[in-house]
Amino acid sequence: MRLSDFSKDIEKNVDLSVSKLNDAQKKLNAIVTMIEPDEQIKEVKEKDPALPLYGIPVAIKDNITTKNIRTTASSRILDNYVPVYDATVIKKLKEAGAVMVAKTSMDELGMGGTNLNAYTGKVNNPYDVKRISGGSSGGSAALVAQGVVPVALGTDTGDSIRKPAAYCGVVGFKPTYGRISRYGVIPYASSLDHVGYFTTNIVDAARMLSILAGRDDHDMTSSYEPVDDYEKKLNSDIKGKKIAVLENVMSSIQDERIIQNFNELVEKLEKRGAIVERIQLDDALLQTLLPVYLIIANAEACANHSNLDGVRFGMREEGKDLEEIMINSRTKGFSSAVRKRFVLGSYSLFVENQDKLFRKAQKVRRVIVNEFKKVLDEYDCVMASAASTIAPHPEESVGEKMSDTYLVAENFMVLGNMSGYPSLTLPSGFVEGCPIGINVTAKAFDEQTLLNICKAVEEETGLENVTVEVQR
């Protein structure tokens, strides 16, 4: 579904999505809460039909705060939480005329890359329900891939938009850190969290950026950088553009079909006049990505989620005193996977550990980003396959093997979170009937170049507006 496929007939648009929701839910288990759209339809009808998302149905990842609509972040502890305010991105969607139809499943509090760790259970891959959707924004990716909504919001702390986008065969975009306000987004790790979204094509991705980006006084980390009309300026002429292929990633991928798909694409881009060069970062540095990421993310997370104690909101488990209420609520409210991350995070912040774990991880992050920046000082973007395999089955995805493939090929996209640089995954082909994707990362706030290069890629792959319904 493209945004441009929708008419100005709100009811018809929304009905189309809603009619697909129930079947999609049976197939995918991607939804935490269905949203009754009648009230919103009434409100949108009062608005200007020229609005960029006028009457367009959208889905929202369940860690994005929606006023009067249950927001659980797929965690038991927030199962009964109904926010009193809207996240800034929700306000912007409403102002643009969108109608929210569903809150989507995710790995609990964003912690995970499989969407297996959601309170409502696994999200199925639209192309093969036995396979995973990827996570943590799995529900949003699956609904767009299924053709239920043209746009769904997600968040990305490690690769939580860009990995499920690869597995589900859609466009997943996380703009520069500070480009889109995080106010009202239930965090995982504040210094790594990004808001982004899924679409079926690059034109829509460009339009969505103009709608969602911009300075927000509620988020001190949001940028004053002016917002452009990215859709209007979209230009797929990439002659002379310098593209760096991250060879560390490509050389650690085992699946020849994925490598071949990537190489063929590179050739096509070269034919378009792009200058493609294979570059190599220090492997040792890339192997630190995952541990450094886990230390920083979980340290921030254990503080960020200290507000979830069952006292003021959320699920409360009784106890004989305040401390017991908090302990019981948190013990029962979080899955063991989440509690594990809290323990790791807390451990790395202890005064006796902080220098050798948390502070060291921050320093290594700085070193990694400096190296990555050097590459982008020379090239317009960095490119690699977004995943080393098609979407795995649940049992294949659980073990965190410390292999090169795992450490480098499966985790390199965290470079985009550590640096904050804009990063986008888009479909590049199919293997065994399942989608595969490539990832492109550009300079800070250079979303236009990123989108332009991705538009060229999209033209070469022909995989524009691909959903399960409209397969090529």
Binding site: P83, A87, V185
Partner: protein
Amino acid sequence: MNYETIIGIEIHCELNTNTKMFSAAPVRFKEAPNSCTNEIDLGMPGTLPCLNIHAVELALRACMGTHCEIDPLVKFDRKNYYYSDLPKGFQITQQFHPIGKNGYLNIQTKDGMKKIRLNRIHMEEDTAKQFHTSSGSLVDFNRAGTPLIEIVSEPDMRSGEEAAAYVEELKNMLYYLGVSDCKMEEGSMRCDVNISLRPVGSDKFGTKTEIKNLNSISNVQKAVDYETQRQKELLENGGVVEQETRRFDEATKTTVLMRKKEGNVDYKFFPEPNIFPILLDESWIESIRNSQPELPSQRKEKYMNDYGLSEYDASTLVQTKELSDFYDEVVSHTKEYKLAANWCMVEMMAVLNKENIAFKDNPCSPHHLAEMIEMMKANEISSKQAKTVFEEIMKGKDPKKVVEEKGMKQISDPNEILKLVTQVLNENPQAILDFKNGKGRAVGALVGAIMKLSHGQANPKLANQILNEELKKR
């Protein structure tokens, strides 16, 4: 053995801002519980802090008033602990980079001026207020997120008297600077005192105890005096001081054990990721420095050097900012500095105290008081008349109108007075004879007669002078 008392003080001071440290919710006292809150103060998921620039300004003013080095790169950190008065589960504070450090404050002691060094001033947010009742604990989040500065002294004080003088000096200064309303009894300024003893001559510190939440300056002194004595007796009897937190019990005037410190709590401080370091503009800092309100010490100096007031008068005036502000206003309309000081400090304060009128409700306008003083100076009214006029201006009346209504304008025209004198002398030949016979009292009687004849309006000094001249002529 003789012991030396070592005292360091930590003061938490709520800043005088309209809104909270990191949210737009209002800062107000005595409002309905939980009415001055928003999603940020309640620690709702997804909320982010947004720094209150006015709070930074006030913190800078406090730093400037106490001669602190200012760090123009403002950074915040998280202090992590779980408690029901801390909605986010962490407090945003400045652990690693306080906005001010290495300052000092001069205090008056019985041995003269003493310099007390400040270790640091940092910004942070207040917690919610808890009420423990028999049926359970209640939490009011109105206070949660209120901007605070914490001012940490070096262990430079040696007695309860010095501790009290330090708190008083700081309180007065912060109030003058408009940084805080400094109401210790209402908790907007809270004082924790650390005390230890060591043998005189030793350069090592003894084990300290901390007395929490002292709510008045006199209690600071009482608590330190008691605690000094307690520790001294403990040490003299061969005991040891244990590191513990105590509170001051007003009823018994003693300090009472709250909890023993069992190792340090690890607050897992780390930099706040949601607030990037903020580099304050040098010119902004300078504009704040250039608009610093006058400090009490500066005013005192001005009163003594420029206005010629005594040290006692100057101190008394600056002790209460409202009184000093009023006086400054009065002397902007009259140059009779000493007279003005007397009327403000003595007469006006007597009325305000007697009638139990708060300064903000003072019906007397400084301009009116200045006018009255000018009338006295110009001999338009006598000092006796002034007392009557003053009573009226303390009810909010215009002194000119009072004088007019009561017809009490003083006659200071020598020709007018000569007429009065002549008439009185003509009517009292016996008194003239008495005068000639050396009866000095006769003069008094004649003056009285003049005053009576003039309905009290004759300038007594002038009347006396002219009377004496005329008597000699007869």
